[in-house]
């Protein structure tokens, strides 16, 4: 009984994860701009990765419950991969967005760009000039 419920939850998690990863690909194709594409590509893949890795973790916990000693190994290693994704994905997205803005890519249909008035590059240059 418990095993069947866990199986249904695992398949549900797999479906949700694959659906959001497909949404990332579609959003990457359909959005008009670097920043909106970054939004689609990063958020959807992070959310989908949580669910796909969560299904693997649930399956490992079920194996552990039924007495298979390979189960805890899968749980710990998949949790390590999930933590690596969760730490590196938003940081990389922030770095790409900052690089795109500083290399001069404008948002489509943007009227006001508040960041343009105070670029951080000039501040570092004046600091170097003071030295």
């Amino acid at each position: 009984m418990l095993s069947e419920i866990v199986d249904i939850i695992v398949y549900l998690f797999l479906a949700i994860g694959v659906f959001f990863n497909l949404l990332a690909g579609i959003g990457l194709l359909r959005f008009p701009d670097v920043y909106t594409r970054l939004h689609a590509g990063t958020k959807c893949t992070t959310f989908g990765s949580i669910f796909l890795c969560g299904s693997v973790i649930l399956l490992g916990l079920k194996m552990w419950y039924t007495g298979n000693t390979d189960g805890p190994v899968f749980v710990v290693h998949t949790a390590g991969a999930l933590i690596a994704i969760l730490l590196t994905n938003p940081t990389g997205a922030h770095a790409i967005a900052r690089a795109a803005h500083r290399s001069g890519v404008k948002p489509v249909r943007a009227v006001v760009d508040d960041l343009e008035n105070k670029p951080a590059k000039k501040a570092t240059k004046t600091k170097e000039a003071e030295k």
Binding site: N21, L22, G25, L28, D70, H77, A84, T88, I96, S103
Partner: protein, 90 residues
């Protein structure tokens, strides 16, 4: 190896491959360089998840270890390309 493969995970891996192909179209088509970098970053994340799914499908832990190392290396390469696009000193 293939006799241990759970066939229901083949559907998941095929749909992830379709998503990678959609991102690859953006990498080929992208008008500016940051567009291509966004596509590559998305492909990296999907490949990591695909490795985890492949590891549970073939019941081998070694693919999940490879996924952890791939995640950290792709993060470093993304930061490096972003720093290059920004035009700063390393």
């Amino acid at each position: 190896m293939m006799e241990n493969f759970n066939l229901e995970y083949l559907v998941v891996l095929g749909l992830l491959l379709l998503s990678i192909i959609l991102c690859l179209i953006r990498v080929v088509k992208g008008p500016t360089a940051p567009d291509r970098v966004v596509g590559l970053d998305t492909i990296n994340t999907i490949v990591i998840v695909g490795m985890v799914i492949f590891g549970i499908a073939t019941w081998n832990v070694i693919y999940i270890d490879v996924a952890i190392v791939y995640a950290l290396l792709s993060f470093i390469s993304t930061l490096f390309i972003a720093k290059y696009l920004e035009g700063g000193e390393f």
